[in-house]
């Protein structure tokens, strides 16, 4: 079966490339807007207009250079990093996270896997700026993530559930999503279980509507209000802060469980990568 998959791979890649070559992130979003009546998807006409000139697009090129450059104490590129579809396979890899990895024995979100490769392949440590700096357009992690994510633009979210650990993390994430706690008794579902509701002026995405939810989970995205590209972990962290809960640890079990459930709820819908958000 493994051999068969290998043979089929170049064909799948070629098909994927032709299907998505002309599709820009704003085209993927427009397709979703055309498919469903959603005040969440259409709430910012300005962002739709600005997407073709998104600053996140510059990071793709920066990230591509960084990815293929020999770097770190070991002076090698990231080209041998296995994001789950085989060493060096980047096309469509991002939409199949979080995923269980045999070599670490745990389910990892994309960012954790990227850091794992930077450490084990390139020899970076937690103290190196390449890994320590996690926030903002200038961070290597932001650039690398935006580059690899862009190679899944238009691909349907498809986080694997074949390994029991993947299913366990997704199911725990679902319980966490509905689990009320903290000063205000909030859970994720307080804001994300109905359609067209607003917090102040912002229309909220409904986790029960995959066509809306794919935009909600499509990170990295240029966050206009922050003037920086942010990741899924930034979004989860900010939600937990607003909920008056404890923030999930970066790359930790809580973050991974939540993102496992998140991405599963967008299953089958095309990812917008990189996206632009308010």
């Amino acid at each position: 079966m493994f051999r068969k998959a290998l043979l089929a791979l170049p064909v799948a890649l070629a098909l994927g490339a032709t299907a998505n070559a002309q599709k820009a992130p704003e085209d993927v979003l427009q397709g979703l807007i055309d498919s469903i009546d959603s005040s969440y998807l259409t709430q910012s006409e300005m962002n739709l207009m600005m997407m073709p000139d998104s600053p996140a697009l510059w990071l793709i090129d920066d990230g591509k250079d960084l990815f293929h450059e020999a770097r770190g104490p070991n002076n090698v590129s990231l080209e041998t990093c296995d994001f789950g579809k085989g060493p060096g396979v980047l096309e469509g890899a991002f939409v199949e996270f979080p995923r269980f990895f045999e070599d670490t024995g745990r389910v990892m979100d994309f960012e954790s896997r990227l850091v794992h490769c930077m450490k084990t392949i390139q020899g970076f440590t937690d103290d190196d700026p390449a890994i320590r700096t996690k926030h903002g357009n200038a961070a290597d992690i932001t650039k690398l993530q935006t580059y690899v994510a862009s190679l899944s633009n238009g691909h349907a979210w498809n986080p694997p559930m074949d390994h029991p650990m993947e299913q366990a993390m997704r199911d725990a994430g679902e319980v966490i999503f509905y689990r009320r706690a903290g000063t205000m008794d909030f859970s994720c579902s307080t804001c994300h279980a109905a359609t067209g509701k607003r917090i102040r002026a912002s229309v909220l995405p409904n986790s029960n509507v995959p066509e809306e939810w794919t935009k909600a989970v499509s990170w990295p995205a240029f966050r206009v209000g922050h003037d920086n590209v942010r990741s899924a972990q930034h979004r989860v962290g900010e939600c937990y802060w607003q909920m008056r809960h404890a923030e999930p640890v970066w790359g930790g079990t809580g973050m991974t469980a939540i993102i496992s459930y998140w991405n599963d709820r967008a299953r089958g819908q095309p990812a917008i990568l990189p996206d632009m958000k308010r």
Partner: protein, 227 residues
């Protein structure tokens, strides 16, 4: 601030099972996630695995751990997939909520609607993490009302909760109405068990005086809400 006694024996037994299971587990590496139910794993991830910053100091004293441990209402009203628990559970939640409400000395009175306007608008308070809300003399927690409620045209509110535009106009300021509005702000579960509305009094977010000011914003005939 949190009442940790259980509503029902079943809930207590379930919780005891979870906590016993969690505390007997030493390190993440030794734990088989796939051997736990989704509920057990969620509790383990939140409270035992180091997955959340539970040691962060919080404004009310103590640490985040206390906030992340559910109290009876939170546990009873968390339904995976949405919806409400059964009628007996709802009644237990309602009864406990009614018992939680304390009233100001001298009875319930309307405060200052202008202060109430600012309190209802403010979303400040109790946030901890990458930016922590420092509660101080001139920066006290707000009511967060406008996050979810539409009130009047001058500032846009949210729509997660009911629209409160003209709230007092149709209802007046009878003693019964004052008590009802006070109770709903203090702990709305006394009327709507498992509501999404935060327990602003019972959780110590707002003081008696602040509740009186927000009540004036809703009920005072002079308030722009009722113009």
């Amino acid at each position: 601030m949190f009442k940790k006694t259980s509503l029902a024996a079943g809930v207590a037994a379930f919780a005891a099972f979870l906590f016993a299971g969690g505390s007997s587990i030493a390190a993440a590496d030794e734990v088989d996630f796939t051997a736990m139910s989704a509920e057990e794993l969620a509790e383990y991830i939140i409270l035992e695995s180091g997955g959340f910053h539970l040691d962060a100091a919080v404004q009310e004293g103590g640490t985040m751990r206390a906030r992340m441990e559910q109290d009876d209402m939170q546990r009873a009203c968390s339904v995976v997939g949405g919806g409400k628990p059964d009628a007996a559970t709802l009644e237990a939640v309602r009864t406990a909520a009614a018992a939680s409400i304390t009233y100001p000395e001298g009875g319930i009175k309307l405060g200052d609607w202008q202060k109430g306007r600012e309190l209802s608008w403010s979303g400040f308070g109790f946030r901890v993490g990458h930016r922590t809300d420092e509660h101080s003399g001139n920066r006290q927690p707000g009511g967060n009302c406008a996050n979810c409620h539409q009130k009047v045209g001058d500032r846009d509110g949210g729509t997660l909760g009911p629209d409160l535009t003209g709230y007092g106009k149709a209802r007046g300021t009878s003693d019964a109405m004052l008590k009802y509005v006070y109770d709903v702000i203090y702990n709305a579960h006394a009327y709507f068990p498992c509501t999404q509305m935060p327990r602003m009094g019972a959780q110590g977010v707002l003081t008696h005086a602040q509740i009186a000011d927000i009540m004036a914003w809703l009920l005072d005939p002079e308030s722009p809400v009722n113009q």
